[in-house]
Amino acid sequence: MKIIHCADIHLDSKMSANLTKEKARERKTELLTTFQNMVTYGAEQGVAAIIIAGDLFDTKNVSATARNVVKDLIQGHPKIAFYYLQGNHDEGSFTSGLSELPENLHLFGNNWTSYELSGTENTSGKGVAVTGVELTPENSGSIYNTLSLDVDQCNIVVLHGQESEYSARDKAEIIHLTALKNKGIDYLALGHIHSYKKERLDARGVYCYPGCLEGRGFDECGEHGFVMLDIDELTGTIDSTFIPFASRKLYTIPVDITGCESTTEIMERMRAETAGKGYPEKSLIKYELVGKIDVESEKDIDFLLHQFSHLFYFVKIKDSSEYLVDYAAFAKDKSLKGEFIRTVMGRADLPEEDKATVIHYGLQALAGEEILDA
């Protein structure tokens, strides 16, 4: 039996922090499309169920398009059972807008709810049960004590929250892993953390965060997708595989520009960091310029952005580099520049970083160059 475990899809996310309005709207649509594609992929693979471990939607108030698409997807795949556990973002956002729940949509409540998976080919084998609870400040402290599983069957437990080895009373977003050990769990299907993580829970089972389906910001770089569970119904063993499925990937590329004296040299460094790395054209890229450059060096971030923006779907440049002043070179310089640098360096009240910046500004002004680095 095959089951998809996904979480943190965050449909209807605005994603306007980095992107333009048009691209944010496009990404919002892509997010919905990727979820749609995942369900289609599941149907092609003959999955019996799709477990959504929370945060299917980003807000409590779901757009009509997202609600209708999700509802039609569920109704359009009657052979797949959808187990939807609501997270901290999408509490009641989807189901309250439906006059009638699709027959193959199964929800969880504030108490443990268990579903036996039907349609197993071999009735003599172990049964598969999907059990879950939506954590609230009220139940988060006591809920672990009330979990009772049939150890003879294959148990999948669904929760949404941050993993923790310790309990945190009244905190709905904390999952107390220790309290879930030795409860007969084969696979703890979690949601909340946006990157893939799979660890052993106890001698019997594992816990797994599939991560989000699509990266939405540069804090969600790398591969994203869902987890495919392949359950041997005779033995009850679960084999899980992460399936990368995001339509676009996000990358943060650090570029050390130490020693660069001009924008062209910085551009060459950036190219060197990009070339041959196989970043797909449809990616979202953030270049982070680091290192120290000479205070007299020239650096135009706008120009660099213009040079790279056409290479990928989205490009952002963050300049975290610092200026380096060769004080010795100006120590005895009989010029206004030398005088200026000595004057700045004589200011004990200025932090070193500010001194470098002031010197850079002054030299740029004298040289007739752009004073600010755009």
Binding site: T59, L336, F340, G362, G368
Partner: protein
């Protein structure tokens, strides 16, 4: 560095003007309007180019202002010395700088030189034009000066560094502009605008918080409505369960009723079947047998109808009872042949008998042809002879005409020939004589020894004789030919006349023999004779055929034989029309034969009918039925009853099958034992209750939907607030960064100015010393009230306060400016001293100071080459 010579082609009002410079002071003292300032401007333009080229005003735009008044080449030459080397620079100016020409030559070699470019002044003095005009070049009414970046750079030996002190003012201005554009206090400042926007956003977000409260309130109401809907849904589910239970009872009840109904129907069918079966006396006929016997019955009816057709009438039976002897066909045919022969013979005899008219005509023709009858061929021969004779006559007439014509032509031709013969005879004689004479002459010539000529003459002579003879012969032949044609014609006519005569003799002979009547035309007579001959032959033939004995005997024999034949039947025909009698007899025989055949067929059909009737009768009896008069009706009734019985039987079996299937499918004992469930509610009442619940649920759903829509709208507004929040955060971050930049930029500006002051302060004292020196020379007093700040700005101490020199009088300002310029030049050019150009700078000085100025000139001319322009002798 000094000037050697200048030559002006055309420049302003100056044209073809040359001036040789000397070391020391070169004074040009000329009246107003001579062109002193123009000459000074020429020197400046040759070094630094024109000023204000972009201006429209010709007075400000120097290129236009100094455009030659008298046209011609615009420009000139300047010779100067720099670092021991002499150069000549030639410039010509066009209407725009692109049309300018520049050439630098080494005066020693007169070859082009590249030691300097078009930027000659800057390269020569290491200062820009502005700095030049503030130091070396002192123009009229502009003696004041100030320290430019270029002057600072030159003093600080940084003239080569383009991005240092010489760019300070630009850098300072840019920093200032940037600070202004970013200003957090100015309305136009970006940071001020950002701060304003932040305040605006904060206000809007604060107001937007109310949206969140409203959303939470609506969300709570929505949740309550959802709970209520779920409660109603649970109630509805309970009712649905009860409805389902009642529905199941209703279904079972319906099934029970259906089962009982089926059983009742089967009992009813069973009764009907028995009634249908009772019609038959224990034996139910098979459908196939019945249909077979019905077919037999129908066949019997057909046979009976045929019997009626073949049944003989009373008259026919009576006819058959007569002992009429039948004649066989062979004998009847024989008698027919005899009767036909008899009729033929009698007809022939009747046809050949001659009428009275024919007998009279035969007699008449016998008399006419008593001596014989001409043959047909003979008559035809006479007809031909007559035709030939007539044609011969016509031809003879034509030929006679021809003969007369020929004779006339012959007579004319003879007369002409006679004339020609006479003329020919004369020519012949002459020719003959000429030939003979020629021949004789030839002989004579031969004899005389001229053989060849003689031979020729003889030949010609013989030819002439021969020609004369031949001419005569030809004429004779023509005459003979014409005579032959006429004779031929006459011969033909003779032959034709002989032929006509023979024809006429034959005709005459025939007519004589057969007596052609007078006055009758021969052709008509011959036709009449021919007709008579044919009529006579035909009449003779008929007379010959009529009354043959053989025929008469045959007729008698035939009549006898036929009479005997008819006598056998007792009806000898009185009219002896045996053929008709034979026809009548044959008819009688055929009628009798038909009656006999009809009687035979009747008997056959009767036998067949009786067999069929017996078959049906036996079948009916086998069904225990008494055969009736019309068995076909009896059989039809049987078939009808049998069908009814079959139908009933099928229906009975169908119901039986239905009951069996029902019993197999349903639990019959349980159905029969079915009891009404407890409770008084009916399906209708349950449906009503459910309807009410559904309506209430629908209302709740609409309420939820309404909340949802409100939430969606509020969410949109909240999205806007969130967008504002995002914008605010981004803007705050950006503003904070901008403020930091602003602070650092301000610091940069201050520190740069501070650095510049520190930098210039190092040579301020040396400049001040120079100023004091020149002040002393010019005024003869020490300058004690002046000081110079770190920015090389001169100030005057007035009322114990440093003041800007702008407060001083014009004369004092000029004086201080001149001294300051010289002090700066001294500081700038420590090694190679430049030449100085002074365009009447002392014009505003009083008399005492003018004298000092003259001293000043004398003093500086010791160290510098001075080009001094003045318009007044007092300042010379």
């Amino acid at each position: 560095m000094k000037l050697i010579k200048c030559h002006i082609e055309n420049f302003g009002k100056l044209s073809d003007f040359t001036y040789d410079f000397t070391d020391g002071c070169n004074t040009v003292c000329e009246g107003n309007g001579w062109g002193k300032s123009t000459l000074a401007a020429f020197l400046r333009v040759m070094l630094f180019g024109f000023r204000n080229e972009g201006k429209r005003d010709p007075l400000e735009n120097e290129r236009k202002r100094y455009s030659p008044w008298q046209k011609g080449v615009y420009g000139g030459e300047l010779r100067f010395e720099s670092e021991g080397k002499q150069y000549s620079v030639r410039r010509t100016f066009g209407s725009k700088s692109a049309e300018d020409e520049f050439q630098l030559t080494d005066t020693k070699t007169n070859l082009p030189c590249s030691d300097f470019t078009q930027n000659l002044g800057e390269e020569l003095f290491r200062i820009d034009a502005g700095s030049f005009e503030r130091t070396i070049f002192i123009s009229q009414n502009d003696c004041e000066t100030f320290v430019t970046d270029g002057i600072n750079a030159k003093i600080g030996n940084l003239a080569e560094n383009t991005d240092d002190i010489n760019n300070f003012e630009t850098a300072d201005k840019r920093l200032n502009d940037l600070l202004n554009s970013m200003s957090p206090s100015r309305k136009t400042g970006l940071l001020r605008q950002s701060k304003d926007r932040i305040t605006e956003l904060k206000t809007q977000i604060r107001n937007g918080q109310e949206i969140q409260n409203t959303m939470e309130s609506i969300d709570a109401r929505k949740k309550a409505a959802i709970e209520e809907r779920e409660k109603l849904s649970a109630e509805l589910t309970e009712l649905q369960e009860r409805q389902k239970e009642l529905g199941i009872y209703k279904d079972q009840q319906a099934k029970k009723e259906k089962y009982l109904d089926l059983r009742a129907k089967m009992a009813q069918r069973q009764q009907t079947l028995k009634e249908a079966e009772s019609y038959f006396n224990g034996v139910i006929p098979k459908g196939e047998e019945l249909r077979e016997k019905a077919a037999v019955c129908n066949q019997g009816i057909s046979v009976r109808k045929a019997m009626e057709i073949y049944c003989l009438t009373v008259e026919e039976q009576a006819q058959l009872k007569d002992n009429f002897p039948m004649v066989d066909n062979a004998r009847l045919e024989e008698k027919y042949a005899e009767a036909q022969e008899l009729e033929s013979l009698e007809s022939t005899i009747r046809k050949n008998a001659l009428s009275g008219e024919e007998s009279r005509r035969l007699e008449e023709l016998s008399g006419y042809f008593a001596e014989g009858m001409p043959q047909e061929a003979e008559i035809d021969s006479v007809k031909n002879a007559w035709t030939n004779r007539n044609e011969g006559k016509s031809l003879l007439q034509a030929k006679e005409i021809q003969r007369k014509t020929l004779q006339s032509i012959q007579a004319q031709e003879d007369a002409r020939c006679l004339r020609e013969q006479e003329e020919a005879g004369k020519r012949k004689k002459i020719l003959l004589l000429f030939g003979i004479l020629l021949s004789l002459g030839g002989f004579v010539v031969i004899l005389l020894g001229q053989g060849v000529i003689g031979g020729v003459l003889i030949v010609l002579g013989i030819a002439a004789v021969a020609a004369a003879l031949l001419f005569t012969a030809g004429r004779s032949k023509v005459q003979t030919g014409e005579n032959t044609e006429l004779s031929y014609l006459e011969q033909e006519m003779e032959e034709l006349e002989a032929q006509v005569r023979i024809e006429e003799e034959q005709i005459d002979d025939f007519c004589t023999r057969w007596g052609l009547r007078e006055g009758l035309e021969l052709t008509s007579w011959l036709v009449e004779l021919q007709n008579k001959r044919r009529d006579y032959e035909a009449l003779l033939e008929r007379q010959k055929q009529d009354g043959s004995d053989e025929k008469t005997a045959r007729i008698a024999a035939l009549q006898k034989d036929l009479q005997q034949f008819f006598a056998e039947y007792g009806e000898v025909p009185e009219t002896q029309n045996y053929l008709a009698a034979l026809h009548e007899l044959a008819g009688k025989c055929r009628q009798r034969q038909l009656l006999l055949e009809k009687q035979k067929k009747y008997l056959q059909q009767k036998q067949k009918y009786e067999a069929l009737a017996e078959q049906v009768k036996n079948y009916l009896m086998s069904l225990q039925l008494i055969p009736e008069e019309h068995p076909e009706e009896q059989l039809a009734e049987l078939e009808s009853h049998r069908k009814d019985y079959e139908k009933e039987l099928q229906e009975y079996r169908r119901i039986e099958q239905e009951i069996k299937a029902f019993e197999e499918k349903e639990d019959i004992p349980a159905l029969l034992a079915l009891k009404i469930p407890e409770g008084e509610e009916s399906l209708e009442s349950l449906a009503d209750e459910m309807q009410v619940l559904s309506e209430r649920m629908e209302e709740r759903f609409q309420t939820i939907d309404s909340y949802q829509k409100q939430l969606s709208d509020l969410q949109e507004s909240w999205d806007t607030v969130e967008n504002m929040q995002e914008e605010l955060e981004a803007l705050q971050e950006k503003t904070e960064e901008g403020l930091k930049q602003y602070e650092l930029l301000g610091m940069t500006k201050n520190l740069l100015e501070q650095a510049k002051s520190s930098f210039t302060a190092k040579y301020t004292e040396s400049v001040m010393q120079g100023f004091r020196k020149y002040y002393r020379i010019l005024t003869g007093t020490e300058c004690e009230n002046y000081q110079m700040d770190a920015n090389t700005r001169l100030q005057v101490i007035e009322g114990n306060m440093p003041r800007d020199i702008g407060y001083l009088s014009l004369g004092n300002r000029d004086l201080i400016g001149i001294c300051m310029r010289l002090a700066l030049v001294e500081a700038m050019y420590e090694e190679q001293k430049p030449f100085l150009i002074l365009d009447d700078p002392f014009v505003n000085l009083d008399e005492n100071r003018t004298k000092g100025a003259m001293r000043f000139l004398t003093e500086i001319a010791k160290e510098y080459q001075v080009i001094y322009f003045t318009c007044h002798g007092s300042r010379e």
